[in-house]
């Protein structure tokens, strides 16, 4: 979907309830400026229509771009499940290779925590892909 919400055509029969702590998560970069130094925190601010931060696991950035169905992406950042849970957040799989980081408040609800968590997640994340999709 163009707005970044996830298509759910065929939900697999079995989804892991919890991901192992050492699982790498991919967060797609929907804006080019998120790749610039100091701006990555913007990638972890919840949109007004989201219940959690969309991430992929056990897949490539190409596949993640397909799953998230964003119109355009500029790469991906990777972070570890352990880092997320250390911030008292949860990672909840909802599709094959897709999960949501839950517990991040909207900036409309809790401004301070929303901004602080965005900083902490950005600090823990590493940009691992800078491919523009579609090219």
């Amino acid at each position: 979907m163009a707005n970044g919400q996830i298509d759910q055509p065929n939900q697999p029969a079995e989804l892991p309830q919890h991901l192992p702590a050492n699982t790498d998560l991919l967060r797609m970069m929907a804006k080019r400026i998120w790749l610039e130094p100091g701006n990555l925190s913007e990638a972890f601010i919840l949109r007004s229509d989201e219940t959690g931060l969309s991430v992929c696991f056990d897949c490539t950035a190409d596949h993640c771009a397909t799953i998230t169905a964003l119109n355009r992406t500029y790469g991906a950042a990777s972070l570890n499940v352990q880092v997320v849970t250390d911030l008292e957040l949860t990672v909840e799989p909802d599709l094959a290779n897709h999960a949501e980081i839950r517990g991040v408040p909207s900036k409309e609800v809790d401004r301070d925590r929303a901004e602080f968590l965005a900083s902490q997640l950005a600090r823990a994340a590493t940009i691992v892909d800078q491919t523009r999709r579609p090219a």
Partner: protein
């Protein structure tokens, strides 16, 4: 500079004190060197109804980046370097750059939502006012970086400053029902403040303080 090289140096103070008492309505003449003036001239002669002054240029004008100044007769009568002349990264220039970036967002920019009129007007008012205050207080002088200007998904404007371990983020809500705030962070020290010119000017000074 010795008095031999600059025989009028000791007269500058007395000239200034005399100048203050001169009726500003009385025309004063400046010996013209044409326009633009010859900045390499060895001596500039300035005279008024009650005083006269000759002086040597103290620096190369080509090295000075002047900013917007109201060029009054008083300005022309001043020696070249005074504390009122700001050089490089003047707050009004930084402010203009931010406004320019917000204008680009309003014009439509790839990846970004178009800001609402509400967010734009609010952001512009506070930025212009805060940088004006910073200029007066000289709390923000030469090192404040240009922020990133971006939008949220509903047309609010976000301005982000990063300097070392310090962050200042402004969130201008898309409308009156959405949050407008200033967020600051330095390591684990963080918080939210009202977003107005006073808090922003103070936080920009905090951002650039060593």
């Amino acid at each position: 500079m010795s008095s031999q090289l600059n025989p009028i140096g000791s007269n500058i103070a007395s000239f200034r004190s005399q100048r203050r008492s001169v009726n500003p309505r009385v025309p004063r003449t400046v010996t013209s060197q044409g326009y633009p003036p010859n900045s390499m001239a060895s001596t500039v002669t300035i005279s008024s109804a009650r005083a006269a002054l000759s002086m040597e240029p103290v620096l190369n004008l080509a090295d000075v980046e002047f900013v917007s100044v109201d060029y009054s007769a008083d300005f022309l009568q001043e020696p070249i370097v005074t504390k009122e002349i700001e050089i490089k990264n003047f707050p009004s220039r930084a402010r203009d750059a931010i406004v320019h970036d917000m204008d680009e967002l309003m014009a439509g920019k790839e990846d970004e939502e178009k800001p609402t009129e509400y967010a734009y007007a609010n952001a512009r008012r506070i930025i212009e006012s805060a940088y004006g205050k910073a200029k007066i207080a000289s709390g923000v002088s030469t090192t404040v970086p240009k922020p990133l200007a971006t939008t949220d998904d509903v047309g609010g404007i976000r301005l982000l400053w990063n300097l070392g371990a310090k962050n200042v983020r402004l969130n201008f809500g898309a409308d009156d029902d959405r949050q407008t705030y200033l967020y600051f962070e330095a390591g684990l020290n963080h918080g939210v403040e009202p977003l107005d010119e006073e808090h922003l000017a103070t936080r920009l000074a905090w951002l650039t303080a060593r």
